[in-house]
C-alpha cells in the first residue's frame, strides 16, 4: 500500500496546489486512507476559499493621488471637532499610537515598503509634527500607548542616522514602526530586530530615496516581545547605521 506515514504537514501546500506530482500522489494516497486528514484538508480548502475573498486592493499600500480628499477630510474633521464631544479626544491619542505602531504590518504584505512623506505643499496649512520624520510623531503621545508598546529614538553620533521606533507586542512576535533619516540616498537598508540571544530578524527593507526626507515603514519580526533588546538599521553589506536599545 502506498499510503505513507501520517503526515499532515503538506496538506496546506496540497490545497494551494504547490506540490510536485510525486508529493501530490503521496498525499492523495494517504488521504484515501485517512479520514482525519480529509477533514483537515476540507477545512484548509475553506480557508483558501476565504483567502480568495480578500479584496485585491488590500495589497495596495501608501497614499492615493487625492490630496484634495485629504484636505476636505481634515476640514470636515475640524468643523466637527469644534462642535464635538471633547471627551472623545483623549482616546484619539491612544488610537494614534496604535496606528503609528504599525498595526497592519504593511511591510509584510509586500516584503517591505518605503512611503515617502506627503508631497511638499500638499495641504500646507496643517503642519502637525508628522511632516519631517526627524520630529517623530510617536513621542508626544507616548504616555498612552497600546499595552506593552515600546518607543524610542536615537541618533548615531558617528553616522548621524536617526532611528525612531514604536514597537508593539503581538503573540510571540513584534510589530515595528520606524522612522529613519540621515542615511545616504541609494543605500539598501534593513530594519533589524535584535533578540536576547543574539538572533537578528529582518523586519523590513528599503532603498533610501534621494529626496532626503527620510523613510517611515512598518514591519514585523518573529522575536518574542520580551526578548527584543534592540532595533537597528543596517546596510546590506553589514554596516550598522544606528542602533536603538530597547
Amino acid at each position: 500500500m502506498t499510503a505513507p506515514t501520517h503526515d499532515s504537514r503538506l496538506l496546506g501546500a496540497y490545497a494551494l496546489e504547490l506540490l510536485d506530482p510525486p508529493e501530490r500522489d503521496d498525499v492523495e494516497a494517504h488521504l484515501a486512507d485517512c479520514p482525519e486528514c480529509r477533514a483537515d484538508l476540507a477545512e484548509l480548502s475553506a480557508v483558501k476559499a476565504a483567502l480568495g475573498e480578500v479584496p485585491a486592493e488590500a495589497l495596495l499600500h501608501g497614499p492615493p493621488d487625492a490630496d484634495e480628499v485629504l484636505a476636505r477630510t481634515l476640514r470636515q474633521m475640524r468643523v466637527e471637532a469644534a462642535t464635538g464631544d471633547r471627551r472623545r479626544r483623549a482616546f484619539v491619542l491612544a488610537a494614534a499610537v496604535a496606528v503609528l505602531a504599525g498595526t497592519l504590518g504593511a511591510g509584510a504584505v509586500i516584503g517591505a515598503r518605503s512611503v515617502p512623506r506627503p508631497a511638499p505643499g500638499s495641504d500646507a496649512e496643517a503642519g502637525p509634527p508628522t511632516a519631517p520624520p526627524t520630529a517623530p510623531p510617536v513621542a508626544p503621545t507616548a504616555r498612552t500607548p497600546a499595552p506593552g508598546t515600546r518607543v524610542g529614538s536615537v541618533v548615531d553620533p558617528v553616522t548621524g542616522a536617526r532611528l525612531t521606533v514604536s514597537m508593539t507586542p503581538a503573540a510571540g512576535w513584534v510589530r515595528v514602526n520606524a522612522s529613519v533619516t540621515g542615511i545616504p540616498a541609494g543605500e539598501n537598508c534593513r530594519l533589524v530586530v535584535v533578540g536576547r540571544d543574539g538572533v537578528h530578524e529582518i523586519a523590513a527593507g528599503w532603498i533610501v530615496a534621494d529626496r532626503g526626507e527620510g523613510t517611515n515603514l512598518d514591519g514585523s519580526a518573529a522575536v518574542a516581545p520580551a526578548d527584543v533588546t534592540a532595533v537597528q538599521v543596517r546596510a546590506t553589506d553589514g554596516r550598522t547605521y544606528v542602533t536603538l536599545p530597547l
Binding site: 504537514r9 496538506l11 501546500a13 476565504a50 480568495g52 472623545r88 488610537a95 496643517a126 502637525p128 508628522t130
Partner: protein
C-alpha cells in the same frame, strides 16, 4: 486653553493623515472598483476616514487590523448608498456594477473582511508566501525566487499560514461587528 485645543487638533490630524497615507490608495481603488466612479470613491474615502476618526476610541482597542475595519466601513457606505438609490422611484439608471456589488457582497462581507484581517495578522513570513502564491498568483518557483527562500520553505510556510488563518477564522465571524456607524 488655546494651546491645548491646538494640540488636540494636531493629534486628530496626525491620525487621519496616517490612515490616509497608509490605506488611502487601497480604499480609493476599492471604492472605485465597487462604485465604478472615481468621484464617488473619493467621497467614500472621505466618509470612511471621518467615521474612523469618530470611532478612534474603538479603533484603538480593536484587536485586529485597522485596515479590515476601514474596508468594512467603506463597503458599508457603498452598500448603503446603493440601497438608498434603489428605493428612490426616479433615478438615473443604476449602474450594473453597483447592483452587482450590492448583491454580491451582502452575503460575503464577513468572510472577506475577516479573511483580510486574519491574513494581516499572520507573521510576515507566512503572509508573504500566501500573498505571492494565492493573491498575486505566482508560481512556487517565482515565489521562492522573489522571497529568497527554498521551494520547500514556501510549501511549509503556505501550509502553516493556512493553519494559523484557520485558527483565527474559527469563531471570529462577528469580531468586526458594530462598524456600521
Amino acid at each position: 486653553m488655546a494651546g491645548c485645543q491646538r494640540r488636540h487638533t494636531s493629534s486628530d490630524e496626525v491620525l487621519i493623515r496616517s490612515w490616509y497615507e497608509e490605506h488611502g490608495a487601497a480604499l480609493l481603488a476599492y471604492g472605485t472598483r465597487l462604485t465604478g466612479d472615481r468621484a464617488a470613491a473619493e467621497d467614500v474615502l472621505q466618509e470612511t476616514l471621518i467615521r474612523a476618526w469618530r470611532h478612534s476610541a474603538k479603533l484603538s482597542e480593536l484587536d485586529g487590523s485597522v485596515r479590515g475595519w476601514l474596508f468594512t466601513v467603506a463597503r458599508n457606505i457603498i452598500t448603503d448608498r446603493a440601497r438608498a438609490r434603489a428605493v428612490r422611484p426616479v433615478e438615473v439608471a443604476e449602474r450594473e456594477v453597483t447592483v452587482a456589488v450590492e448583491r454580491d457582497h451582502a452575503d460575503r462581507v464577513v468572510d472577506s473582511l475577516v479573511a483580510l484581517e486574519a491574513l494581516e495578522r499572520l507573521p510576515d513570513e507566512q503572509r508573504s508566501v500566501l500573498v505571492e502564491i494565492y493573491l498575486r498568483g505566482r508560481s512556487l518557483h517565482e515565489t521562492a525566487d522573489r522571497l529568497g527562500i527554498p521551494t520547500g520553505t514556501v510549501k511549509s510556510r503556505a501550509h502553516h499560514g493556512l493553519k494559523v488563518m484557520r485558527r483565527r477564522l474559527t469563531g471570529r465571524a462577528t469580531a468586526l461587528g458594530g462598524v456600521t456607524g
